[in-house]
Symmetry: C2
Subunit: 322 residues, 2 copies
DNA sequence: CGCCGTTGATGAATCGTTTCATAAATAAGA
DNA sequence: TCTTATTTATGAAACGATTCATCAACGGCG
């Protein structure tokens, strides 16, 4: 019935009397309107999809919070999904998003090859890439300058006098892994030192367990680096734990610097120096970019790439006590 | 067209030839079926709703993973939402779930009063309460035995000779906060000691920041307790950091025991003794209970309450080095 | 008294999928 | 060849909210 719809969506265009009558009926019958019917009629849902590579990582949890905040402000819901770094899971979730006719999608792609968002374009679902820089040709994106982050970390360590620095990192396919190293190497060049100042320590995943592996390998290295730069805080936590256990003092024997500045970096026993990667802000800005792309002029839209500046947060893991 | 539907849902009931023809058309047109139309027809969605009180807490992240796993196995999606411990947000999300005609809902209620799931019952949406024990009258539930958890923690500390134990905890409305204390007090009675062995230290929230507050207050206490039992690991992390900073040695000067056994308890510099609260398993079992309630006999269903046993995980934060 | 303008209520059509009843085509048996 | 049985294809109805065109009611004014 059309009147009911008016009562719910345009209460001012309906007379006081009928409005009351309809409201009463709604109460009595326990009526709850069907979102799927609304969606079907509208042709699109009232949700944003957010697909990240690891929901367990506090970094993405923070990003999701930022997104959600912005979305709720715009009256939209968010569905957060986990591709678990699997390209096939990523594709499956994007298809799901397409079937749900999501209003828009925020995507942290698993790898930097291909354009996984093509499934979405066919349905005219706009997509914003988060936490990865991509060209402005196809989609908007919000990322942080990882080269700068690496540079900041490198300068900090070099200024403190370190001359042998380990770089602990996950799979090289991740652009971030490469960019952060590039930044570190640039700092090394700036300081007029040779590239073999940096010791590469690859691990499989960006998690604490891999950090512990790396820790054991670090202890065995000779000469042992005096500092380690980790591509992610979880790695740094694992490393600190292992080396602390082996009696290596942080920061005196080994300075440790992480990346992302997750909550637990600050909460750590020896608070971790880290490069602050503004997770919540990335999430928020990406959602806002998406909303802008949705809202008024569907045509006159130019894709944007926002790049945020990371920030060095110095804590005790790199600063010996006075 | 009915045939298309058959090709997609019952491909064996359609001839080889037409199937191929339809598939080809689907390819060419880039057809993606509309989930909202399916839902409308079916009268219910193919999703489970999961509403927790803090998506940032790794405990709930783990719980969500368990739920998701079980749901995906059953061909259902999961939408995770965050009530942020606000009863009004909780009610809003439950209404949202009702409008979406969720297949079922997993709920970690904000407080133990009332029955927030009533909005769902009216739509015949089954609800399973997670991580809180409730009677079996209205809904199923999966929780852990928090009294036992407190008991285990208490016995462990008392056996180690502690005679003055702080209990750091968030709002008392949470049943868990009460239960864990009850367990602790039972251990104290068992040991034939008086109830004022336990020093109550209330804080506002179950997070690291509140833990730091508690840490400062602990240091100021006199006589200072020799051990502290925290209602949650995040509190314990905050406490350890603060007291470590102040030169109090853990575990020698102060033994610390947490609750939940989140990933970061083990990853901590001084690994944290904790009561393992089986998050992923709670999530998984709750989802399975929900699926069972959904599946075959809608009527002959009796609500169940599963109570899991927590487990003490002893690490260095309570065991002085030999 | 009748005409017109305004406001508010009504009903039909629509979105895309599924289901079910029916129709057509094919195969088998008499 | 004709009937019956079986497989496969077709068409219409339904789900529930929204929209839009139409219609009724009412007050003002000539």
């Amino acid at each position: 019935m059309g009147t009911v719809s008016n009562v719910l969506n345009r209460p001012d265009q309906v007379s006081e009397q009928t409005r009351a009558r309809v409201q009463a009926a709604i109460e009595i019958l326990g009526y709850v309107r069907s979102e799927s019917a609304r969606q079907l009629r509208a042709g699109r849902s009232r949700m944003l999809g957010l697909l990240v590579t690891d929901t367990g990582n506090p970094f993405f949890a923070a990003l999701a919070r930022g997104t959600e905040e912005a979305a709720v402000r715009a009256g939209l819901g968010v569905m957060v999904c986990n591709s678990a770094e699997s390209p096939s899971a990523e594709q499956a979730y994007l298809s799901l998003f397409a079937e749900q006719r999501m209003r828009g999608v925020l995507l942290a792609p698993v790898d930097s090859h291909g354009a996984p968002w093509h499934v979405l374009s066919r349905q005219n679902i706009p997509c914003v890439v988060v936490d990865r820089a991509v060209g402005e040709d196809e989609v908007c994106s919000v990322a942080a300058d990882d080269v700068l982050g690496g540079l900041l970390a490198g300068r900090h360590l070099l200024k403190a006098g370190h001359r042998r620095i380990a770089y602990v990192r996950g799979p090289e396919q991740l652009r971030q892994v490469r960019d952060r190293r590039d930044g570190l190497l640039r700092a090394v060049r700036e300081a007029g030192m040779s590239a073999d100042t940096v010791v590469d320590v690859p691990v499989h995943r960006h998690d604490v367990r891999s950090g512990r592996d790396a820790g054991h390998r670090l202890i065995g290295l000779s000469p042992r680096p005096s500092a380690v730069f980790c591509a992610n805080d979880l790695l740094a936590l694992g490393i600190m734990q292992t080396v602390f256990d082996a009696g290596v003092r942080v920061p005196d024997d080994l300075a440790v610097i992480g990346y992302d500045d997750i909550e637990f970096a600050e909460a750590c026993l020896i608070p971790l120096t880290s490069v602050r990667h503004p997770a919540a802000e990335i999430g928020r800005l990406a959602a806002e970019l998406l909303l802008k792309e949705l809202d008024p002029a569907p045509e006159g839209h130019r894709h944007e790439s926002i790049v945020l500046q990371p920030e060095l947060v110095v804590r005790r893991s790199t600063v010996p006590r006075a």
